[in-house]
Symmetry: C2
Amino acid sequence: MNKAVDVSCMCGKCGDCPIYNRTVCRAGTTDAMAQLNRIAHQRTYPRGSVIQAQGETCDIVGNIFDGVIKLSSSSVNGDDHIVGLLFPSDFFGRLFAEESRFSYEAATDVSLCAISRPAFERFLADHPEVEHEMHKAKLDELDAAREWAAITNGHTTMQRVATLIYVFSRRSENQHLRGDAARHPIVHVPLSRRDIADYLGTTPETLSRNIQMLSRNDVIRIVDSKHFELLDSAELIRYSGESREDLNRIAAH
Amino acid sequence: MNKAVDVSCMCGKCGDCPIYNRTVCRAGTTDAMAQLNRIAHQRTYPRGSVIQAQGETCDIVGNIFDGVIKLSSSSVNGDDHIVGLLFPSDFFGRLFAEESRFSYEAATDVSLCAISRPAFERFLADHPEVEHEMHKAKLDELDAAREWAAITNGHTTMQRVATLIYVFSRRSENQHLRGDAARHPIVHVPLSRRDIADYLGTTPETLSRNIQMLSRNDVIRIVDSKHFELLDSAELIRYSGESREDLNRIAAH
DNA sequence: CGGGTTGTTGACTTCCATCAAATTCGGTGG
DNA sequence: CCACCGAATTTGATGGAAGTCAACAACCCG
């Protein structure tokens, strides 16, 4: 197998690309990356826009550059359920399928590297070492999806809420904290209450009650609707009903 | 890419293999299959035995020949959740990972073609066209897992029960029906009530109540605890809260 | 023929979805 | 800058679905 070379991302402006060190961008050789650069292009979507609708033909795939994409399935009755969230450096889109079973929607403003699906499939056929990396990443994603399914099922809403906040606290850990280092970390959850509720399989009302409860019990402080100060990490873990190790494994994604 | 040849299954006794026409056994060339035959071997597990424990090193992978494997995640409190079921011709095991996040247990007596994981990974490295097929199969599995997660979340227990029975009715459709063709189909659900409950994210008690309810309303007739006569398919679909098309897509797996 | 497992039924309680109303927030134009 | 509007969030009150505890029946297997 060719040695992977740490080269530029396929987005085309890779000097300052923050996500260059993952899956696709890491596995390919310099030649492969050059090839990718020719077929990839940057795009942005405003919050709320649909990148790929459920049941439509799958046109594009790619890497998320910035923002959060929600992967959701909506049934006939109008109530939809979010089955996954995609973050920067995650791959989005459905390879090797004509139509998408889920919709990909921008939960925040999103910018991404897009590639035409057929073009990327041809690229993968030429570069099995890249497909191998994609395959491994998908196996991890499958494990994560199942792990999340196990959580949303066997647990109370409060446990799910606590788990979510903890996972997001780990995710935003390496970002700049407001104020001095001695302060408690600020957790940023860039989703609306409705989106969080859809992800956790509950309603905005019940979600709000649980968040307020955590606040009343001094586990978190609500800075604004999308920012929480984490006052008592150990207590949050207790509310989640999971062990710290399990939580960290989930957060690792 | 090499042309796929419709050859024998890797289990080694392929003349009468009932599952030869899927993923691995279909994608490889004759040479590849011969190579597989050398490293694969048949094995059987009695009902209830653990094929691969959660957190243990992943030794073996392979194809299921007969029986049902449950893929479950158990938390510290002892309550475990079934995150997936694997049927004949499904691939089991976790490639490219040192330890398994889930346990693979025989829900019924199981016989399978087993291959050492490292040996199979070397095989895949030599045969990218087979890895490509594995990759595609996993993408389908990921979709199915997410679809199931959406079902277990947004729906009532009765809807989940109805969905499960319908899916199993489609699955056992091509098997021999008892009695004459005019009779209603017999649905075989080879799982214990506890396993079904764990899969649906409920309790044996609630599950039992719902099954009895379907029986009282003449949707099904309970032949014995694992066999149901499907009296009114349309009514079952109504109870499931899904459209017939969605159900069939789910059943297609 | 017992004893243990599995499945069913009943009574009670808790959690959460629902409906409804109040409040806050974000943006827009005066 | 402030007033205003609509959307998002929070709070309150209520009913229903389902989990829990407990007892019982059916089944399997030695």
